[in-house]
Amino acid sequence: MYSLFLGCIAPLRYPGIESATREILRELGVEYNELEGASCCPAPGVMRSFDEKTWLSIASRNLQISEKKETELLTICNGCYGSLFEAAHILETDEKKRSDVNEIIGEGGYNGTTKVRHIAEVLYKELGTDEIRSKVRDGLKLNIAVHYGCHFLKPSKIKKLDDPERPTMLDELVEATGAVSVPYKDKQMCCGAGGGVRAGSPDVALEMAKNKIDNMKAAGAQCIVTPCPFCHLQFDRGQKELGDGYDLPVIHLSQILGMAIGLDKNKLGFESHVTPVDPIL
């Protein structure tokens, strides 16, 4: 059983990512419950940059909620996944840090047992692409630029999900919808948003996003698919900031799977996207 960790960007800015996730989990028969009272993961780039102790303490409180429910913690965002996975790894392997943090969080402390999962790898490993393909109604006829984002697979030494330089997991999931994942230049490059760069140096962040989007467009992509609401926000809002000629729709993994299995359009929540999705509907 999983507990759904919502994070911040999906529930508060792109609720369609949350509703599409809930619907596809139901349609695909993945059981989950709520992680009541969870907070921000907290955001690894900013909080961990400012104060490791506060970052680790708030993260361990989130892990503690899942531990008490005896569930695996299911994330829908690379940032949440990266933050909580690394925090769980530190707390599992470093007893000193765990006992320091337990003094701070109280409520019985955290024992270091929560398993942190990412929706993309759960769908890939626990269900598999054949199962997903069997639920697809009319195959999507789209050329898609798949963007993995950084904190899904890296650091690969502890995540051990796929080759961080030439991964296929997400491409396979996206192609299970009938769409084509197009190869493009510098596919594994960062979107530019992480590490507090979007907040602190927006021009630098935008330049990085622009380069990726230019490469995606040059490869003939009709939309971007990412498993991360922060990369999603960076590409979606970034294109408005870039202006004319930047209109590549941005779609979360849950939303593209939702489209493929024929979910109701209002459950996909495309109206919260800044860059219109209509051209591919």
Partner: protein
């Protein structure tokens, strides 16, 4: 003339190592990190140089520098480093020290204050509630936003780590 020479400061080097940079001295300056760095394509940030300065303990060159905040923590350098240096971990360790020493961007203080006040990175306004409702969701997600006690417990953590004081002084 001696001022022109680099004066190593082992105390600062040790501080970086203690703050999470325990692989710092494994670096032999090959430059694979800089060659792999996305931010390095668009800025003058050279992560190899940052690591070298940290090895030498050049506190005054490292802490106030804008370069320190150009790392997106993408981990490509860490993946490719032939010496297994946890480069993003070192960057984060130096950032922690920079904040303690009062170097923090206003935009970052603002982001941090959202978490302090809301337990989330951003607020939930009426327009977002309406969107949630349109998508068939509860107006308020079942997070700290729904449970007052939960938000209190996050705030109590922040109080204990004296995080507000830290960013207030930065």
């Amino acid at each position: 003339m001696t001022d022109e020479y680099v004066r190593p400061n082992p105390e600062f080097t040790k501080r970086v190592i203690d703050a999470g940079g325990d692989t710092l001295n494994l670096c032999f300056q090959c430059g694979t990190c800089t060659g792999s760095c996305p931010s390095g394509r668009y800025t003058a940030f050279r992560v190899r140089k940052m690591i070298r300065k940290a090895q030498l303990g050049l506190k005054d060159e490292v802490l106030p520098s804008d370069d320190l905040w150009y790392c997106t923590t993408c981990y490509t350098c860490y993946e490719r480093c032939p010496r297994g240096v946890d480069i993003p971990g070192i960057v984060l360790a130096i950032r922690n020290i920079a904040v303690q020493e009062g170097y923090m961007k206003e935009a970052h203080k603002k982001t941090a204050s959202f978490i302090v006040n809301n337990g989330h990175l951003m607020s939930l306004k009426d327009e977002h509630k309406a969107l949630r409702k349109d998508n068939g969701l509860d107006e308020v997600p079942p997070t700290v936003l729904m449970y007052e006690d939960a938000l209190k417990s996050v705030k109590s953590i922040i109080e204990k780590t004296e995080f507000e004081k830290l960013i207030g002084s930065a």
